[in-house]
Structures are given as structure tokens and as C-alpha cells.
Symmetry: none
Subunit: 196 residues, 4 copies
Amino acid sequence: MKSPDKHRKIIRAATKVFAKKGFFNARISDIAKEAKVADGTIYLYFNNKFDILLSVFEQEIGKLIDQVNLLLEKEENPKVKLEIFITNHLEEMKKNRYLAEVIHIELRQTSKLIREYRKNTFNEYLAIIAAIIEQGQEAGVFQKEIKADIAKQIIFGALDEISRCWHIGNDCPYTTEEVRLQIISLFQAGLLTPSA
Amino acid sequence: MKSPDKHRKIIRAATKVFAKKGFFNARISDIAKEAKVADGTIYLYFNNKFDILLSVFEQEIGKLIDQVNLLLEKEENPKVKLEIFITNHLEEMKKNRYLAEVIHIELRQTSKLIREYRKNTFNEYLAIIAAIIEQGQEAGVFQKEIKADIAKQIIFGALDEISRCWHIGNDCPYTTEEVRLQIISLFQAGLLTPSA
Amino acid sequence: MKSPDKHRKIIRAATKVFAKKGFFNARISDIAKEAKVADGTIYLYFNNKFDILLSVFEQEIGKLIDQVNLLLEKEENPKVKLEIFITNHLEEMKKNRYLAEVIHIELRQTSKLIREYRKNTFNEYLAIIAAIIEQGQEAGVFQKEIKADIAKQIIFGALDEISRCWHIGNDCPYTTEEVRLQIISLFQAGLLTPSA
Amino acid sequence: MKSPDKHRKIIRAATKVFAKKGFFNARISDIAKEAKVADGTIYLYFNNKFDILLSVFEQEIGKLIDQVNLLLEKEENPKVKLEIFITNHLEEMKKNRYLAEVIHIELRQTSKLIREYRKNTFNEYLAIIAAIIEQGQEAGVFQKEIKADIAKQIIFGALDEISRCWHIGNDCPYTTEEVRLQIISLFQAGLLTPSA
DNA sequence: GATGAATGAGCGTTCATTCAT
DNA sequence: GATGAATGAACGCTCATTCAT
């Protein structure tokens, strides 16, 4: 039977290679070499190159979901929960350069397949934000006019742009902490001064 | 003399083809056919495929910059200016599907060249947001703690995620107006209820 | 493991195709078809088209060197040795039409790469002539005023022009034997009549 | 009417470009630029790229023929005439690098057209050598056993190899004078010592 | 006659995928 | 199951040649 170990090895290798070169510039043989298997072996575990990309997402974003859910389940306060989500996402992106790049680059490769895929695992991740917001609205701490489904996109977009900026080069010399405070400040208190 | 008209025709064709297929899946001959010129003609106007991509950006984002600057120059109030920027960006993205997709997809093709390029015209566009925020801070309407350079990324990321969502499919059934209000509300007033 | 057999098949096919069409007019797919392999297979064995040309030389001229050395080692008399070299070269060129054409045509494709290459295997072949001459000079049978390094070029040039003439068409209706005698006569006894 | 001046300018430019890059690597636009005419203009004077090559030969070798005939007509002694031919060829090749390279490289581009062409002007040049030898045989200074048609090839081949060697690089540090003496010595007196 | 922009056929090379071992 | 040599379709780009001006 196909070894789950080898499956994992290939996923890990692919994550690294896709992050380094982007999906289109990555070669199956790059992944095979990184995973220390033969090119042909990859096709015992995946249908095609694109299928590897999907699996990388499934795997990596699944891990993100589990991780943040674990952190959130101990907390009740929606305001704090949102902070936890934001902080965790930023920290993970800062730490896991590969995942970050895969999200930035590959999430945008317009493709029917990706589009359909996004309705699955990735949207589950975004749904966490929406759930927090809805809970906050029910608790009366978040404004009721905010639509959770729009807000989740806005917040994810903001977080994602920051993490891309980090991985591009020298224009974003801000620390996680600094950015975290700015984002939380912007989204929770807004731009306007209290008197305005 | 090489006709500027043909240059424009190719740019327009490329914008369309890149938007439809993505940079890597777009074929030079697709662009040539769309522009109704011979394949070789494209190389009279551009050095290579990537150069076309850069030119599409330069051209299209340049237009965006000019347009929004025109709208902004009549206005003094920073709060309104930010609304204008946000509204204009959303409207343009909703209207100009090709530009939107090119930004979503191609801006993320990890590539030294794009990265370098982004420091030019594209960053000029983002700098408009930063300038508005700084002006607002000087005028005392925006919180002084906000760092304009971080905020510009956050705001752009939010806007861009929304426009991507629009072009992906059926998950984002919100109108421009609705989204505009949500974004302005989130960024200006924040999530928290006044009493919180 | 890449089969040495296939390597040889491609070399042989390339020799034939280069001879027939010349390097620049030869198509990779011509070689592939002649070798009965796929186009891509060629690139498992060679880096690029030019590399094939170099390998054809290395291979074919290496064989020439081995062959003539084998013939020469049984002989001591420098005068006879020179005759052996000349005779062997002429016979090989007459017999191996492909090698002859490859030498004629491709050796002259002005190119840095070929030029550098010629300092290796090909010059080894020419060095055999020089060695014979030097040995003859030491033995007192060849004139001491002759510079072996110049003479080797002169002799090779003469032989090569003859073999080219053979392969061009109908202007050179001479037999190997006839030409052999003329060349040996010219180089050994000279043009002048004894009384002159 | 087509200007003969422009025709000459293009020939001269082509000689230079072919010599520098070789026929196949030379671009029509290189020649056009060198000749300071438009690409299309070349096609008013020549049928195609290959036709330019033929014309370069016709022109350049024609000049060689005229020049050497001029030198020869003042001389009667066949031995001296052969020396004059050899010396003139070597000097011209040393001086006119472009012509030399065109002969080396382009004369060998196997091609029906070139082959046919060689029966014309180029063979006229070689025929001069044959004529000298025949005249020498009649005068009793050259050996009667030598076949002039073979000898002309041998002598040209030797001269041509020397000139190629000069233009290749650093392996041929011999002066025209040195080489001239060696060639004349080899062809006139032979290799063998008088006692041998 | 002169121009040079336009053409488009053509080729070297790549690489996802297959399959014999 | 694992391998990696073999495949061949596909594409970016070049450049000799044409032709409208």
C-alpha cells in the first residue's frame, strides 16, 4: 500500500518548492529531488501537478485551522478571539515562509480548480473569522451593521497583504507586534479620532 | 515608425488574455490573435512575454493613478478623500474586470522582476493612500498612532481581497455600495460598538 | 541508467545528418528521427545542439587517432610512417563520407567553441604528423629546416582539400591510390626535377 | 536604376559581417546596418541571403584573380611564378582577414549552390596554379609525373589551412615570411634530405 | 528607388506524464 | 511499490522576406 510517510514527504517538498519558485516555475523533478523520490513516484500519490498544489493547501491550511481552533476554544471574549486569530495568522505567516508564499502566489493562480477548491478548506479558515464576528455581534461588542461575510474577506485581505509585504523585501520593516497592534487598532477602533 | 496605436492594441489584448488565462497559461499567440497582429509583431514592441506583463501594469495602474488623483484634487477633507479612494478603487475593479484580475493574479507571481517593478508605479498608487492618512493625521481627524505605511497595505489588501472575491464566483453577492459602506465603516469607525 | 547504446545511436545519426545538411541546416528532429528516438531524448544525452557537434568530433576523431596510432606503432621508418598517415587519412575520408563532410564543413563553422575544442582532440590528431616529422628529422631522413608545426598544418590542409574535392562532385575523378602517390611525391620529393 | 555604389556598399558590408559571424549567424539586418541601408533595400540588389554570399565570393575572389594575374604576367620562370602565387595568397589572407574568413568558413557550407558556384570563379583561381605547374612541366623544371589538377588542390589546401590557422588564435605564431619559406621548401624540394 | 514595420513559418528546448523494468 | 529513461506536444522567440507608403 502507498506509504502515508511518502505522501507527507512529497507534500512537504512541494510546499517548499512551490514557495520558492511558484507553481508554474516549479518542476515535478524539483519536487521529486527535494522529496528524495523518483519523478514517477509522485504520480503514485497524486494525479498531476495541480493535484499536488491542492493537496499542499488542504494539508497546510488544515493545520492552520486546527491550530487556531485550539487557541480559540479556551477563550470566550470575541474581541480577544479576533485578536488571537489575527495574531496567530501573522505569526504563522512570519514563521512559515513557505505557507505564506504558497497562499500569496498560488491562491491567485486563477483556475477553475482552485476556485472550486477555495470553497472547501480555505473557506473554512475564513469562516472562523466570520463566526467570531457574529458571536461578537450577538454579545453586543461588535457593531450589528457589519456583515460578517464581508468583514472576513476584508480582514483576511489585510492580513495577507501584510504577509506578502514581509516576504517581498525591504519595504516592510515592521515587526509582528507592531503590525498586530496597527491591524487590531484599525479594525477595532477605526481610523477616526474619538472627537471626530 | 512603430505605431503607438499598435502598442496600445497589444497592451489591451494582453490585459484581456492575462486576465482570462493568467500569465503562465497565456500564449504569445493568444495575445497576437486577440490584438490581430502577427506573433512576431509583438516583439517589435516588447522584449519578451514578461515585458508585456510589466507594460500592462505600467499602463493600467498609471491610468488608475491619474483617475483617482483627478477625483482627489477637488477635495480637502481627508475622511472624504479616503472614501473617494476606496470607492473609486472598488468601482474600477468591479467595472474593469481585466485590470482587477491582472492585479490579483499577476501581482503575486513571485518574481524578482515584479518585485522590483512594484517599487515603481504600483507603489505610487499605494502612496496615495498613505498621503491621505498623513494629511488626516496632521488635520487631527485620524489617529496619530496609525502608521500610514502599514495602513496603506492593510487598506489595499482589504480592497483587493474584495475585488478578487467578486471575480471568483458566487460567494460574494454584495454590491459595490454595500461593500463600500462596510469597508469605510470598518476602517473609519472600527468594529467595536461605542459603548464597548 | 542512460544507455551508452543510445548515446552512440544519436552520435551516429547526428554525424549522418550533419554531413548531409550541415550543422545549421540540420534539425534536432532530423537527428532524432534518424536515431529513432524522441526529440527530447537527445537532451538526456547532450546539453544542446552544439554539444552534439562537439561529441561527434570527439568520438569520430578519437577513432581516427586510435586507428592510425595502431598502424603506426608497428613501423619505425619515418618516411613510411608519413606514408601510412597520409594513406590512412585518405582512405578513411574516402570510405567514411560522413566523417569527411563533418570535418570539412563543421570544422570551419567559425565559433569560439569549436576553436577551443580544436585545441583538444583534433590537435592531438595533427600532433601525430608533427611527431613523425620530428622523428624523421632526428633520424636524418627529413630536412632539419622544416618546422614540424607548420608542416603538420600544410599536410593536413592538403589532405583535407583533397577529401573535400572528392565529396563535392565530379571535378576530382582521381583514385585514392593516384592521389596518395601525388601527395607523397609532392611532400617527399618536391616539385622540382632533380636537375633543376 | 539601381545604384552600383549601393551594390558595392552591401557587398562590402556583407563580407565584413559574414567574416565576423559566419553565414548562418549573420543577420540580414546586420548587413543592412553595416551598409547603412534599410533591410528591404538589400532585396532590391540581391535575391536572397544566399545570393549575397555568392556575390561576396564573385567580387572578392575576382579581385584576387586580377591581382595575382597582374603580378604573374611580368614573370616567366614557373618556379618563381609559383612562389609569387603562394606569397601573394598568404599575404592577402594575412592582410584581408574578412576574405580569409569568408573562404574558410563559407566555402565549406555544403550546399548545392556553393558547389555549383565553385566551378566558376573560384575554380578560375585554382586554375592559375594548375597553369603554372603545367607551364613548369613543359619547361622541364617541374616533374612530369605531377598531375596539375591534383597539385592545385593540394597547394590550395595547404595555403588555406595556414590562413585558417592564423585566424583562429594563438597556435600559429609564424610570420608570413616563415610560412612562405616552409611551403615553398616543402612543395619545391620536398621533405627528404638530398642524401635520402 | 528606398524604407522599415509587419509577417508567420520554423526551430531549439522544456517538462509533465508514462511505462518497461 | 518504486524507478527514471523515454516521450512528444507545446511554446517563446527569431529572422528572412514582403509590401504599403
